[in-house]
């Protein structure tokens, strides 16, 4: 009856939230990747690369504003390539979602539910997320906006109160920088802006498509600022050496929150409760966009029921994968591959769209 698309700002909040969750999950990789406090340079380089990519993709795909990356590639490339792209995105979304879920479930088990089996926590999250993913993008956008207001902003405010007793000299020395480490961490930083992969799908569902470029750029700027602020906060709080050993830097930060007049003994649980809603929302977002990728790849009319295929896959992947802290030594190569693919596929598609457009005129 009314417009069922999402608004530009709803798109913005989806992109910022999903990126924030990925950034907090991959933060330890960035902290260990650079030998020194210069990780923020990797973040800036990554953001700059994505800024160019966002502009190129938005301009080149202007005539395909109703399409997702999969349906555009279907029009531009041979069928098998578009299918491969579709399958890549499905697998990538599933992998990332299962990693988030595993990491999230482990945090909950360690901090809150010592005696509850991990599988019970995972299945509880999965079933609730499935309910949201099945309801469609309007619901996903709605919960993201509400979570933005009720959890994300308070969560950030709580983090701000952790700057008590921070040692700001930890951000020095800047010279000599670990140039190799900085460059090696760029793919990781770029992957942390996961909203870039999501916007290739979500932009097609926005009601005012003319605002997509502006919204995407605003997202990138906001996300970069949040990433830089989080990185620097961890560095000033713990120092480079100690920060490199943190598995969940944000949870560690919560332990040092000092809000005047706050009477709770363990603030990390309060922070974790807010974090639960944030991570949970990002799981819902990813589950929905996996559904959408499945719908586009397999050319079905309705996507809600794909969640029933996702549930066992996600459960098995999340239960089977080792914890993030165990994967750190082996994660660098997959990050390079996924980060490269995430950048390459949209840029190649944009180039193909641009060439087709040039030929047509």
């Amino acid at each position: 009856m009314f417009n069922q698309d999402i608004t530009p700002y709803q798109n913005f909040s989806i992109l910022v939230l999903i990126s924030f969750v990925l950034q907090s999950m991959l933060m330890p990789v960035l902290l260990t990747g650079v030998n020194g406090p210069e990780g923020w340079i990797s973040v800036l380089i990554g953001a700059f690369l994505l800024f160019i990519a966002i502009k190129a993709v938005n301009k080149a795909l202007k005539n395909h504003s109703e399409d997702t990356i999969i349906s555009v590639s279907d029009k531009l490339f041979p069928k098998y390539i578009s299918k491969l792209i579709g399958i890549y995105y499905i697998l990538m979304f599933l992998t990332v979602n299962s990693l988030i879920m595993k990491d999230f479930a482990e945090q909950i088990k360690l901090m809150m539910m010592f005696r509850t089996p991990l599988s019970t926590i995972i299945i509880t999250i999965l079933l609730t997320a499935a309910y949201a993913a099945k309801k469609g993008i309007h619901t996903i956008a709605g919960i993201t906006n509400i979570v933005f207001l009720t959890s994300f902003i308070p969560y950030l405010l709580i983090i701000v109160f952790s700057t008590y007793y921070a040692d700001y000299s930890n951000i020095f020395p800047l010279y000599p920088p670990d140039a190799e480490g900085i460059l090696r961490s760029v793919p990781n930083a770029a992957l942390s802006f996961f909203g870039f992969s999501v916007l290739l799908f979500s932009n097609s569902r926005v009601s005012v498509k003319e605002k997509n470029l502006k919204t995407n750029q605003l997202y990138l700027m906001t996300s970069t600022l949040l990433y830089l602020a989080s990185y620097l906060l961890i560095i000033v709080k713990f120092g480079t050496k100690e920060a490199a050993n943190l598995v969940w830097p944000f949870v560690s930060i919560m332990k040092f929150v000092n809000i005047p007049g706050f009477f709770f003994e363990s603030t990390e649980i309060v922070g974790l409760c807010l974090q639960i809603t944030l991570i949970f929302t990002s799981i819902c977002i990813l589950a929905f966009f996996t559904n959408l990728a499945m719908q586009e790849t397999f050319k079905t009319r309705e996507n809600g029921y794909f969640i029933f295929i996702q549930i066992p896959i996600l459960y098995l992947m999340a239960a089977g994968l080792p914890g993030m802290y165990m994967m750190f030594p082996y994660i660098q190569i997959p990050i390079y591959i996924i980060s490269g693919m995430n950048l390459l596929i949209p840029i190649l598609t944009a180039c193909a769209a641009y060439r087709k457009y040039k030929r047509s005129i």
Binding site: M112, F264, I269
Partner: protein, 500 residues
């Protein structure tokens, strides 16, 4: 009744018509058949009405006398419907509403609605004389929505009185009223009210379509309509607002919403209804804006207390005692030492007691009702603590929750929150704070899915940047002067409140 075909035109033979109608109203002693002869030719006339539903004086003393004197009955026999209506209009009949009926079905409907029907021999039409009149409750202050400042009049069971109470407040020709009838047996009158240039046409069409699609034998209260036109009947949350206050209904109309008045019901329905509207009271706009802001804020603080406080008590005492300040944690542990039940049982038990007391106090007369509340609160709570069944903290938690629940202005909405509270206690008992977080996430998803006549229930929070103007009148109440625009979420054509 099925064997009688009432849809056929009225017969010229009055005896045949009488026979059919007597068959229809067989064993219905309150239907009065008054037959008499009038005019020079001793023309037979049959008068029908329901005893107790008509104002007999108006009919017998003024209407019939004037009608029979003024109308040439012999001529009337061969007149068309329009001619007859014209002729009746020329008489000095003292009844405002008159209608010519052509079928017996129409006659039966009108008689049962409280009108008087006049059948004339050799005339294949009947005349309806408006004579509805029955004992009714006066306009009183609505007991469920009492205010300190504001109008004291409330709706009663007569739909037309209710409409007039709204009309008194909105003397706008753009205020439109559409009548409908629902219920195969009850034939309940329904009025759909809206302001033509403010209402969202899609919402209006949706409401009309849903009302027209209702198939039911009887509508005894507006809640029947509410249940049948809401978007999600399985949701615990009300999606249609109801009020007994004419000022609240008028205000809803001015916001571009649709008001549905149902006969025999002292409350009207308002659609669409969003989450925010259930947290507002008419009084918010009658008091000074600054204290009202604080009161509204207080309601939003009460909302999580109503839903979550007992669940938080269970989660913290059972799973996360380390969350509490050390002294409090030690006190809780000491007070729990002699209590044989786990915290979730304590919370559920006390909540159950509170609900029992609440239900009991509704069922009995008000002076005794308040005594029951006191007895329940003081005696049961005190005795339970002394008997070592529950901790004093559990009593404080449950009492605070009960008090907070009274701050929610909408009774329906408050009931939904009370129901959800039990689900949260179970979740907290199973998964602690994680369970509460999952429950809240589930609730948020559900609320974001919910719609009222196509309008998202969580408007304006679900798109707070696009609807930022609507945020102004949610958690706080701005000055009336600052409310220069009507809500954005209804996509009205005329949004300005000034220079209309």
């Amino acid at each position: 009744m099925k064997n009688l075909d009432l849809s056929q035109p009225i017969d010229r033979d009055i005896n045949k018509n009488e026979q059919v109608l007597r068959k229809v109203f067989e064993n219905t002693d309150d239907i009065i058949f008054r037959k008499f002869e009038a005019g020079n030719t001793k023309l037979k006339i049959l008068l029908l009405y329901v005893d107790g539903m008509t104002t007999k004086e108006a009919i017998s003393e003024y209407a019939i006398e004037n009608l029979l004197m003024g109308l040439n009955l012999e001529k009337a026999q061969n007149m068309s419907r329009a001619q007859l209506e014209h002729e009746i209009a020329k008489t000095s009949i003292a009844v405002l509403e008159i209608q010519v009926l052509t079928t017996l079905e129409e006659c039966v409907d009108k008689i049962l609605s409280g009108e008087t029907v006049l059948l004339i021999d050799s005339c294949n039409k009947a005349i309806m004389l408006s004579s509805r009149g029955w004992p009714m409750r006066g306009v009183q202050e609505p007991s469920a929505e009492t205010l300190i400042r504001g109008a004291r009049d409330g709706f009663n069971e007569t739909m037309k009185v209710n409409i007039s109470l709204i009309r008194r407040r909105l003397r706008d020709p753009k205020l439109k009223i559409k009548y409908a009838q629902v219920g195969k047996r009850s034939k309940t009158d329904i009025a759909i009210l809206y302001i033509e240039d403010l209402v969202n046409k899609t919402v209006l069409e949706t409401v009309e379509k849903r009302i027209n699609n209702i198939e039911i034998d009887a509508v005894l209260e507006s809640s029947y309509i509410e249940e049948m036109i809401e978007d999600d009947c399985y949701s615990p949350f009300p999606q249609i607002e109801n009020t007994e206050r004419p000022d609240a209904a008028a205000s809803a109309l001015l916001e571009g919403r649709v008001v549905i008045a149902v006969d025999n019901t002292p409350s009207v329905l308002i659609a669409p209804a969003i989450f925010v509207s259930f947290m507002q009271s008419s009084e918010d706009y009658y008091d000074r804006w600054l204290p009202t802001c604080a009161i509204r804020l207080l309601r939003y603080i009460a909302l999580p207390i109503v839903m979550l406080l007992p669940a938080l008590y269970v989660a913290v005492t059972q799973y996360h005692p380390n969350l509490l300040p050390t002294q409090l944690s030690l006190y809780v542990a000491a007070s729990r030492a002699n209590v044989p039940f786990p915290p979730y049982f304590e919370a559920l038990l006390m909540e159950l007691v509170i609900e029992l007391v609440r239900e009991a106090s509704y069922r009995i007369t008000s002076p005794v009702g308040s005594t029951i509340g006191l007895v329940g609160g003081l005696v049961i709570g005190q005795s339970s603590v002394e008997a070592g069944l529950i901790t004093p903290l559990a009593v404080i938690v449950v009492a605070l929750t009960a008090i907070a629940s009274f701050t929610i202005p909408s009774y329906n909405f408050g009931s939904s929150l009370r129901l959800i509270r039990f689900a949260f206690i179970v979740l907290a008992a199973t998964f602690g704070l994680f369970g509460i977080s999952i429950g809240l996430s589930f609730l948020t998803i559900h609320l974001c899915t919910l719609k009222s006549c196509g309008i998202p229930y969580m408007t304006p929070f679900v798109s707070f940047v696009e609807n930022k103007r609507d945020l102004k009148d949610t958690i706080i109440r701005p000055r009336i002067n600052n409310l220069v625009r009507k809500p954005d979420y209804l996509h009205m054509e005329k949004k300005e409140r000034k220079n209309v």
